[in-house]
Amino acid sequence: MSDLLVMRGIVKQFPGVRALDGVDLDVRAGEVHCLLGQNGAGKSTLIKVLAGAHQPDEGTVTFGGEPVRFAGPIAAIKSGISTIYQELDLVDGLSVAENIFLGHEHAAFGFTRRGETNKAASELLGRLGHGEMRPTIEVGRLAAAGKQIVSMARALSHETRLIVMDEPSAALAHDEVANLFRVIRDLTAQGVAVVYISHRLEEIREIGDRVTVLKDGRTAAVGLPARETPTSTVVSLMTGRDVEYVFPSRPAPGSHDNRPEVLKVEGLTLSGRFSDVSLTVREGEIVGLAGLVGSGRSEIVETVYGARRASSGQVLLAGEPVPPGSTSKAVRLGMGLAPEERKSQALLMNESVARNITIAGLGKYSRFGWVDRKKESAAAASLAETVDIRPPDPRRPVRTLSGGNQQKAVFARWLVEDRKLLLLDEPTRGVDVGARAELYAVIRRLADEGVGVLLVSSEVPEVLGLADRVLVLREGKVIHESDARELDESRVLDMIMEGSAL
């Protein structure tokens, strides 16, 4: 069978990060080609290049035997490549049929032909094995699985020869996944190729034909047989790193055992997200949560912090109960959070570095609500120096800083003397290797000064290298807890991907 899509030596550079560093990909017509790789390996960037959302800096793409260069998403769709993103891009207020034909409506003189549209939509839905879905129903009323069908119907409404699916099973229940696979098999039988992205190895074994593994923006293996390749081979391809992270040295195991508990979480539950999570963090200890996206790790941290309201369970900070659902009380009791999405959840992009640092502790630099600006700018300058923000000018707009330095500014925000617990959600996302080592050193230094740290990361080596103790999560439950030094990366990956605890 000839290759439908051939990508060679794709390079994509972003400011400070080389997201793709020479990736190759071959996809044949009628096959399910799986794309594997850890977070940050470059999967998302690669599919955005494929979808025309990013233009590659170097490399060639050949589709259907001809070299192509997509100026934008519309060009890619017109050539026959459709992409179904994890965040489904549907309009809730429009009907199923209207969503399917959004942008290329059946119309005459600007008036949509509703009958024709609905009939064509029904045909497409039938082709996907969902002839029972009414094309007139509002998309907002469909569940996740239904929306996915609509997205696929939209992809088919164009002359599609290749469909890219980004973690299509993440939002689906078990029987819905089975249905998704049936649809995928129908499509491939019709000669459509599917690029399938998932973290779940068992799915890849079930639906996939061949596997390409990405690692640190490069292709680690091309076109492995999906069913025959042993898990250990796949995991070692995903993990064998070129870059070794430099982690600061840790205190001896068990050295925190006699320190007081800073955080005690008992039976914490957020329905639909995670259930019955209990954990403790002691003074000076770094506790890591490892798990896949959707395993509940970020939600646990946000619930502890009061950004989400727990369904049940209790959070104690230094013995004091933390009322659910109030971030301002959590902060007053001595917590601090560096959230997952730096730009949308942490930073005030209009403001200077100094103001980003002082916003959480304004009360400390003010008297009766009046900001003591000398005290404030002195504090901002010294905090910025503590975490070594470069360039060392706190008056710069925060948006001009690199990702790593922005993250340092978020850390600095919480370095006021009375913090007891820091919650760090993906602290090194989008940060280059050099800055990572600096962030790790800052985190360890904070712990050594007596702060408790709860660390979330989708990068297993980071959790294992930095934390003292590790909790492994799968589907909202803690499935394993032990000293970080007793675990290695492939064992943790085994646990979170296959669910085999120990």
Binding site: L348, E351, G369, R373, P397
Partner: protein, 352 residues
């Protein structure tokens, strides 16, 4: 969304800048003038544009009506005219920087003026009348704020409802009649007639509100948090700011300003009436926008708003002095809003 905001409403801002350094410095200067006093703030580019526009309008006034424009009585009347909406504009600036909008300001001012001039209230004397107006304004603002922050209503809808309801309540209380400030309470009217250094007292009230507003916005934790809440509400919440309570306070503050404006309008017209302040909300919002405050929140200044308002007031004055049609005046104002926003967008784009 946040990215678009941060780059001044330009959603395509991901391309790496070519000349990072010069731009970075420009931004640094714009965000932090060397000495952030009143004068240097006026010296910022966008404020400079407003000052130039104001001077140009004054030149037009001097040329077209040399006999009337530059007289002290005309300048005093411009300031007196600006005082009422000016006080409201200060509150509106806070609300808009905080990411909201308050459509109810004119109606709330009318309600406060009516409530303060009922016979029952007037019986307690001028001080109680003023306090009554301020409390009514603040109370109405608290109600809007509560609906928006805890009732999770869209600010546009909640304050639109307040606009309609407050106007109706004012009509009901006054029986649609204009209520005169009684002779025993002429102290209220004295605010308009008593002059210090040639200016009526109410102009000093206006100036005081502007100064206090500027201080609160730039020198207090409340002001700092207002920028944070408007610029990125999620980040503000995760930094431990009680965003809901803060939002409610912003509308209460706007209501408080409406109450003060009600005292000024009672002084100027010697009446309380349900028809006071019709369409003031549009003038106030326009002044804030012309002054360079982003309607999406997180960025803006009080000085800019006041300059915007003065431009509007001078235009009104020029049209009256030249005996021109008031309809043309509205057209001119509409054009000014469009031009001001277009110019601001260009200056924002050149910086980001």
């Amino acid at each position: 969304m946040t990215d678009a905001r941060a780059s001044g409403g330009n959603p395509q801002s991901t391309q790496p800048p070519a000349d990072e350094h010069t731009r970075v410095e420009e931004q640094a200067r714009a965000a932090h003038p060397a000495e952030p006093g009143v004068l240097s703030r006026v010296g910022q580019a966008r404020h400079l544009g407003l000052v130039v526009a104001l001077i140009l309008l004054a030149v037009v006034g001097l040329v077209t009506t040399p006999a009337n424009f530059a007289t002290s009585s005309n300048l005093v009347s411009i300031l007196a005219l600006a005082s009422t909406i000016g006080v409201i504009t200060v509150g509106m600036t806070f609300v808009i920087i905080g990411g909201g909008i308050d459509l109810s300001v004119g109606a709330v001012m009318a309600l406060a003026s009516v409530w303060a001039t009922t016979l029952a209230t007037q019986a307690y004397g001028p001080v109680v009348m003023a306090i009554c107006a301020i409390l009514v304004g603040t109370g109405a603002g608290l109600v809007s704020g509560f609906l928006i922050s805890y009732g999770r209503m869209v600010p546009f809808i909640a304050t639109l409802a307040m606009l309609v309801a407050a106007r109706g309540l004012a009509q009901r209380m006054s029986d649609r009649r204009t209520q005169l400030v009684g002779p025993d309470n002429s102290a209220i009217v004295d605010l308009s007639t008593t002059r210090v250094l040639g200016l009526p007292l109410l102009v000093y009230i206006f100036a005081l509100v502007v100064v206090i507003g500027w201080l609160v916005l730039n020198r207090t934790t409340f002001g700092r948090r207002t920028y944070a809440v408007g610029g990125n509400p999620e980040a503000a919440r995760l930094a431990g700011i009680n965003v809901r309570r803060h939002t409610m306070m912003l509308y209460a503050l706007s209501g408080l300003c409406c109450g003060i404006a009600a005292v000024i309008i009672m002084a100027r017209t010697t009446t309380g009436s349900s028809t006071h302040g019709d369409l003031y909300e549009l003038d106030a919002i326009a002044a804030v926008i012309i002054g360079g405050t982003l309607l999406t929140g997180g960025r803006g200044t009080i000085i800019g708003s006041i300059l915007g308002l003065l431009i509007f007031t001078v235009i009104t004055n020029l049209f009256i002095l030249n005996g021109l049609n008031t309809s043309d005046q509205l057209i001119a104002k509409g054009l000014i809003i469009v031009v001001a926003v277009l110019l601001q967008r260009r200056s924002l784009e050149s910086r980001t």
